[in-house]
């Protein structure tokens, strides 16, 4: 009993620490990659190659003044950054990042919690992520924030449908909801689900970008129209919390994408954890690449694209996959 609690808390602490570090260095990666793509060099002053830049940023944000505007609804406003950050972290609990290992004579699974409905758990916590943004927009008492919040709720509801449907194809092929079994079924490169679900993968990727509010789908925080969107009224660590939430979300959809379509931690020679991190950061690189390449969609285009293109395609993918599985 005590042993289980101890092992679980240790695992959770390790995973949280890893994800938070990952978030911090995702910002560094984003700045460096975008800089390179735009023929600049990015951060260089803090440490070698600017590697200490995330730490400098964090210290700066902590020491900034925490401004609470007069017109906010206090409790909701204070809760919103947490609500947007925590669900993103929760996703990592069910994502496996390595094979089982023997430690001190005990079998330890390299996953926070091996739920047999892992994928549904991910969908559930992802669907809660929207509240942070909606509540921030509503409780700020500012029209820009409200616009950002409303846009975001409409966008996230629309794209969540496609997101869920794109995963169903994989579930149908694999015939399991457990992420652990999914990874085990993708032992070699030829078994990766991306080959059996190419359309599903493209849909997943597109919807995931919209779900995490990244360019070219970053309507909720389109700074040229909305000042800053839902986080306009936030400053200091509260703002940083939204920022971390966004990066944690990116990491989460990357990790899930790598697990669903690219065989998770499976790979030759290198240790499983390294493969997992490599695959996740490949996804992250793609995200950043997109950001540096594409302009923002117009809002009505975004909604029309979600409902008239992605949604029918996702339905088609589900139907065709189901038919093929039945045959």
């Amino acid at each position: 009993m005590l042993e289980i609690v101890l092992i679980s808390s240790l695992k959770v602490m390790v995973i949280m620490a890893a994800v938070l570090t990952g978030c911090a260095y995702a910002t560094y990666m984003e700045r460096k990659v975008v800089a390179r793509l735009q023929h600049r060099v990015g951060p260089t002053y803090a440490g070698p190659y600017g590697l200490l830049q995330p730490i400098a940023d964090a210290v700066k944000l902590i020491f900034k003044e925490d401004i609470v505007p007069n017109r906010v609804e206090r409790i909701t406003w204070g809760l919103a950054p947490l609500v947007s950050f925590v669900p993103a972290l929760l996703t990592f609990i069910v994502v496996p990042f390595g094979a089982d290992i023997e430690l001190f004579g005990r079998q330890i699974k390299m996953v926070g919690s091996d739920l047999n409905i892992g994928i549904l758990f991910i969908l559930a916590v992802t669907s809660l992520g929207v509240y942070g943004i909606v509540l921030a927009g509503w409780s700020s008492g500012s029209k820009y924030s409200l616009m950002g919040g409303i846009r975001s709720s409409a966008q996230m509801i629309s794209y969540e449908v496609g997101y869920g449907l794109s995963i169903i194809g994989v579930i149908l092929v694999a015939n399991t909801l457990s992420l652990r079994e999914l990874v085990e079924q993708q032992a070699s490169v030829g078994d990766w689900f991306i080959w059996r679900q190419p359309l599903g993968f493209i849909l997943y990727l597109t919807c995931a970008i919209a779900e995490t509010n990244r360019l070219p789908f970053d309507m909720p925080e389109a700074e040229s129209e909305l000042v800053g969107g839902y986080h306009t009224e936030y400053s200091s660590m509260r703002f940083a919390m939204f920022f971390m939430g966004e990066y944690a979300n990116m990491l989460a959809v990357s990790a899930v994408g790598a697990t669903l379509f690219f065989g998770g931690w499976q790979g030759p020679y290198l240790p499983p954890v390294v493969w997992f991190i490599l695959k996740v950061f490949l996804f992250m690189f793609f995200y950043i690449w997109l950001r540096a390449t594409f302009p923002r969609f117009r809002y009505d285009q975004l909604m029309a694209f979600g409902w008239k293109v992605l949604f029918p395609l996702a339905l088609l993918n589900t139907m065709v996959t189901a038919a093929l599985v039945m045959l």
């Binding site: 409905i117 549904l120 969908l123 509240y131 509503w138 409409a154 909604m303």
Partner: protein, 195 residues
């Protein structure tokens, strides 16, 4: 007192607390938030019963989709809880609400009573089978045993959605009196319903 009991106690109290607070709020957004709290606590209860699938679906469908829609509509209408809630309710409802609430309490009391003191011969409330609420069991119920009722219910929902779109479209047309610009109006209302 083991871990299960503690988790049950906490989530049960939170679920009831959320439900009560939801009714007591004047601010509609706060009501929605309390309802979400209550739903999440209920999901924990399902999961504790071993019905992982039901718990996850409760969060995905209700907390994740329907409540977001509620919140969205409330924000669009900009309800801030200043509406006078007491006015306009007919005198009949003052009686009926107590009757309905009383019946519900009686019913609840009966269930609890028959669970705590089972009559001789009956076994009282049965604990669910171990497979209860798993993906396979739910799928078999929906897609094998109750396939036609399930499909009928979905057709009913579809009819309701189509009806809402048609009615909203008609209202928009008569308001703006732009029957020649029918397509644009329809498209707009479709977007609103989808949002």
């Amino acid at each position: 007192m083991n871990l299960d009991t503690i988790i049950f106690a906490i989530s049960a109290v939170v679920a009831v607390f959320g439900a009560v607070m939801m009714i007591g709020q004047r601010n509609p957004v706060a009501s929605v938030l309390y309802l979400i709290v209550s739903l999440v606590a209920q999901a924990v209860l399902y999961i504790q019963l071993g019905a992982l699938f039901l718990g996850a679906v409760l969060i995905i469908v209700y907390a994740g989709a329907i409540m977001v829609l509620f919140l969205f509509v409330i924000m669009l209408l900009n309800l801030r809880g200043r509406e006078d809630l007491g006015a306009g309710s007919p005198p009949v409802s003052k009686v009926t609400k107590f009757v309905v609430a009383g019946l519900f309490v009686l019913e609840l009391g009966f269930v609890v009573w028959s669970g705590v003191f089972p009559e001789a011969g009956s076994t009282g409330i049965q604990s669910a089978a171990s497979e209860f609420g798993s993906v396979e069991v739910v799928a078999e119920l929906i897609f094998m045993k109750y396939l036609y009722p399930f499909e009928l219910a979905s057709v009913l929902l579809l009819a309701a959605i189509v009806g809402a779109v048609v009615m909203a479209g008609r209202a928009a047309v008569t308001e703006t009196d732009e029957s020649d610009d029918d397509d644009a109006v329809k498209e707009q209302t479709v977007d609103e319903v989808h949002g």
